[in-house]
């Protein structure tokens, strides 16, 4: 006994005391890294949301003077009126931060890191060191992106897709100077982070599953994260190459994307390139990216809906199959962003065909969610509300995708507010709902405390009201022919009648952002002052709830549990309780379901 203690003591000394730096900062523990990702993402989320508030002021009340704009933006909002260049910069950085830092890095970084080892039964990720690097590259990327807001010529302003030549020529827009360089550096670092993380996730899920955890018994969150990671590893390198070639064009005089340009009073020397090449490379990542954002949210919601409906997820295999189908299709649909680039119309037909096929696995998912709720016994936790909210936004936004994916219909709604409405609902809201659901659900696992349910309820209802209040009317603005990324519609008498809608959108946006402060308050308050969590507060089957309330480095104090069943044995006939955790052996005569 004393020998053992001595040995432990020795080991302890050998590794050095887990001081502040190794525990909180340069941590290699997946749970701490997950918290780092989450808190960084929350901060970035607030930055991104704040930027949208600034441009919503301009869109709701164009040309009016707002002291707050001048206070925050200085010369970019002289006399409180937003500068058109700054408007484009705000739109660009809002999109970039939300798409990459919050919904890719934040969502996957948080839940892949937290859940992979805990749900598959592993002590940690395959490589703790790569995992730590993945966070630090992510942080550096976020810091650079935010820093680019403060430079004299302004941040990147060519839209989040940064199409050249606009993004390549500082003569075309001031944001394409240093701001664009910082954007490219930030995204390059982000891609490194994403690849380090993704490889680690794949290796860990494939190799480190505990005894009995066959692929067919993995919780759907794990399937979602595995498929997401594969998508990322296959597509992000293409974005990196697109960014590198853009850097060459900008800084070293190459002509990958540039040709036949007359600007600033002279003809440029670039010949032979094509901006269309950039668009192909960008969207080869860009479309899988949509699912990189969405799939983890779908996985999280499957897990939460099943747990709280106290009912097995309906059609486990179909859920996995539909995610695989969506992932596969996501690689052959990128051209639907480019129907109107002058691409061969036949190619447009092919992309229409593949794009509309995505609706089939999506429909399967929606009906499976609905059937899971049918004859359930639904516990309304805040997480459950967000997960059901995701089903609603996924339906609402998904259906308009059938319009946008149809090349003939895309002609008149392409790049209008209709698109803005569509992707904010189907991708933005669904993914952020999935993320909130995840935070409310796994907060007890992360911090050993519970979040306040009343604030959670209020947060959900205000958020869902503002999401639809903001984005539903945008469909109409788009159908009226208003292009996106317009600083103001005042130059068009035809659009005058739409201004009232814009005012109400801005008001709903304001409401939505106030609601997010309730979340932030609840989150940080509960970390310190929340009531103590019990070991399995949601009475869930998954393996993460078999650890101590505050699991240490290594997750389980004793041996790693063995798994005997799938994660969805809820309300199984013949069982005492309405849930049977995965580590409970099959009873004599009990049949394993799936």
């Amino acid at each position: 006994m004393s020998d053992h203690a001595e040995h432990a003591e020795h080991a302890h000394h050998h590794h050095g005391k887990p001081d502040f730096w190794t525990h909180y900062v340069f941590s290699q523990d997946h749970k701490m890294i997950s918290k780092q990702f989450l808190i960084t993402a929350i901060i970035m989320g607030f930055v991104g949301m704040g930027l949208s508030m600034l441009f919503r002021l301009q869109l709701g009340w164009p040309g009016e003077s707002f002291k707050v704009l001048e206070l925050l933006l200085g010369d970019w909002a002289k006399d409180g009126v937003l500068d058109p260049n700054m408007y484009l910069a705000l739109v660009t950085i809002h999109g970039t931060i939300l798409v990459f830092m919050v919904l890719t890095g934040g969502l996957t970084g948080t839940f892949a890191n937290l859940l992979i080892p805990l749900q598959i039964g592993a002590r940690d990720m395959a490589s703790g060191f790569l995992n730590m690097l993945s966070y630090w590259f992510f942080l550096a990327s976020s810091v650079i992106m935010v820093a680019s807001l403060f430079i004299e010529t302004g941040p990147a302003s060519a839209g989040w897709t940064v199409y050249p030549p606009l993004s390549a020529l500082p003569e075309a827009i001031p944001g394409s100077g240093l701001g664009m360089t910082l954007w490219l550096v930030s995204i390059a670092l982000f891609i490194v982070s994403s690849l380090l993380g993704g490889l680690n996730y794949i290796v860990t899920i494939v190799n480190l599953r505990t005894k009995g955890m066959s692929m067919g018994r993995l919780p759907l969150t794990m399937w979602a994260i595995l498929i997401t990671a594969i998508l990322g590893v296959l597509s992000f390198p293409v974005l990196l190459s697109a960014a590198l070639l853009l850097i060459f064009d900008r800084s070293f005089g190459t002509s990958f994307y540039l040709s036949d340009i007359f600007i600033g009073g002279q003809a440029l020397e670039h010949t032979g390139g094509s901006p269309i090449l950039y668009e192909h490379l960008f969207w080869f990542l860009g479309h899988p990216e949509v699912y990189i954002i969405l799939l983890p949210a779908l996985g999280i919601s499957s897990e939460i809906i099943s747990t709280n409906a106290r009912k097995p997820i309906f059609g486990y295999k179909a859920m996995v199959g539909s995610m695989l189908a969506i992932a596969f299709l996501s690689f052959i649909v990128w051209g639907h962003h480019m129907f109107l680039t002058g691409m061969n119309p036949f190619l447009g037909s092919v992309f229409t065909f593949t794009t509309l096929l995505v609706a089939i696995p999506s429909a399967v998912k929606v009906f499976n969610y609905l059937t899971t709720l049918w004859k359930g016994n639904i516990v309304y936790t805040p997480a459950m509300l967000f997960a059901i909210g995701l089903v609603s936004t996924f339906v609402t936004g998904g259906l308009t995708g059938i319009i946008l994916g149809d090349s003939a219909l895309d002609i008149n709604v392409h790049d209008t507010y209709f698109v803005v409405a569509h992707f904010h609902i189907v991708m933005g809201a669904s993914a952020i709902f999935g993320m909130f659901a995840g935070v409310y659900h796994w907060f007890p696992k992360m911090f050993g405390k519970m979040m306040n349910k009343k604030l959670g309820y209020a947060h959900f209802w205000l958020t869902v009201i503002s999401v639809y209040g903001v984005f539903f009317p945008m469909h109409f603005i788009g159908l009226a022919g208003v292009p996106r990324r317009y600083y103001s519609n005042e130059a068009f008498p035809l659009f005058e009648s739409l201004q009232d809608i814009n005012v109400s959108i801005s008001l709903f946006a304001l409401l939505g952002s106030v609601a997010q402060f309730m979340f932030a308050f609840n989150f940080f308050y509960s970390i310190f002052r929340g009531t103590k969590a019990s070991k399995n507060p949601w009475r869930s089957n998954a393996l993460e709830w078999t650890t101590e309330i505050n699991p240490g480095h290594g997750n389980w104090e004793g041996p790693i549990p063995t798994v005997y069943r799938w994660a969805y044995d809820y309300s199984k006939p013949g069982a005492q309780e309405d849930f049977i955790p995965q580590n409970v052996p099959l009873q004599p005569g009990e049949e394993e379901f799936h």
Partner: protein
């Protein structure tokens, strides 16, 4: 000072809220409740709010269609636009019922099955039959939509008829210029290296076909009922020519010519009657982010009878007659939009440089 006060008030407000919540939590804990545990009352309340919320959402959708529907684009002003609108309507008729069905089911299940201690959920994890139904039905519906959609797309993107009028549209930051072929019905060659301030499209003076070309800014005139094929060019960044009333859009890509053809079927005059708006004008908008004044890169389109169109075109100077664009060359954007800051300087800079360089090129 005021800012400091505001900050102080905000911090105080947060502290007060924190304290109130703490007091509230302590009092519920004293009563024996857990502020995180979901009670029977919670489930009932949330389920009730849920069903009300879903129904309000559906009501909001109906309200939107009724209140904002009339603000949408009027009927198509081009022939192919009618086909697109038909496809659009059919698509709406397919997706709207799905939208309402899914939400009504959500509301119904969400309320009917909220948690009661005495209830047990049904262990129903799989049904090949059901899954087969909702795989095959969407497959059939989508296949028909794809087939119909592609037939419209093939029609819209088919080659233009031989007797089409060819019009070139040149985009640059931040205006549009059109070039019509003159009496020879052939457009002369052009190239970006030939651009000067007097020859903003870079039309080749050596090409004989150029001399009768007509360069037009400010207004784009089209004859009703004739096939028109647009050839799009850009000399700086990506732009997109968007004519929403004609259901027409195509990107303008530097280094490449893109095209779209259509037959305008409603004159401006007729459309003014249809919309009841005597000021109505068809629009050409830029729909690809292109810089500071992107939001005001526009041109009016006038659709008129063939005779009026011919008279209007005859009135324009030929390229040979004047190396200066026609009278309508009012500085379209820069003057109207008071763009402050670098971009304005930039845009003005461009024109100044062009003017300075002009003599050298002669």
């Amino acid at each position: 000072m005021i800012n400091l006060l505001i900050a102080l008030v905000i911090i105080l407000a947060i502290l007060v809220v924190a304290k109130v919540i703490r007091v509230f939590e302590l009092s519920t804990e004293l009563k024996g409740d857990n502020p995180a545990e979901i009670t029977a009352a919670d489930n009932k309340t949330q389920a009730t709010i849920f069903v009300i919320a879903v129904l309000s959402w559906l009501a909001f959708v109906v309200y939107g269609v009724v209140a904002w529907g009339p603000l949408m684009l009027p009927e198509s002003a081009s022939v192919h636009g009618d086909d697109i609108d038909k496809l659009m309507n059919l698509t709406w008729w397919i997706i709207s019922p799905m939208f309402f069905l899914c939400h009504l089911l959500l509301a119904y299940f969400g309320y009917k099955y909220y948690y009661r201690k005495e209830n047990t959920a049904t262990f129903f994890a799989h049904s090949t039959k059901l899954e087969l139904i909702w795989t095959t039905v969407p497959t059939i519906v989508l296949t028909s939509l794809i087939v119909y959609g592609l037939s419209v797309w093939n029609e819209v993107t088919s080659l233009e008829p031989d007797d089409s009028i060819e019009i070139e549209l040149y985009a640059k930051q931040f205006d549009w210029t059109a070039r019509y072929a003159g009496s020879d019905n052939v457009l002369g060659k052009s190239g970006y290296r030939l651009i000067t301030s007097e020859n903003p499209l870079g039309v080749s003076m050596e090409d004989a076909a150029s001399s009768d070309d007509k360069i037009v800014r400010g207004e784009l005139h089209l004859p009703v009922g004739k096939s028109v094929v647009f050839k799009f060019h850009s000399r700086d960044v990506l732009h997109s020519a968007y004519m929403p009333h004609f259901r027409l859009q195509m990107n303008c890509v530097p280094g490449m010519t893109t095209q779209f053809h259509m037959v305008p079927k409603t004159t401006t005059k007729e459309m003014r009657e249809i919309t009841g708006n005597p000021e109505f004008n068809y629009l050409l908008l830029c729909n690809k982010i292109c810089g500071a004044a992107h939001y005001n890169m526009q041109m009016d389109i006038i659709v008129e009878s063939e005779e009026d169109y011919a008279a209007w075109l005859a009135d324009k100077k030929t390229f040979a007659d004047s190396m200066v664009p026609t009278e309508e060359t009012v500085p379209v954007v820069v003057a109207e939009v008071s763009v402050e800051g670098d971009a304005a300087a930039n845009v003005e800079g461009n024109t100044q440089v062009e003017k300075k360089e002009a003599p050298a090129s002669h």
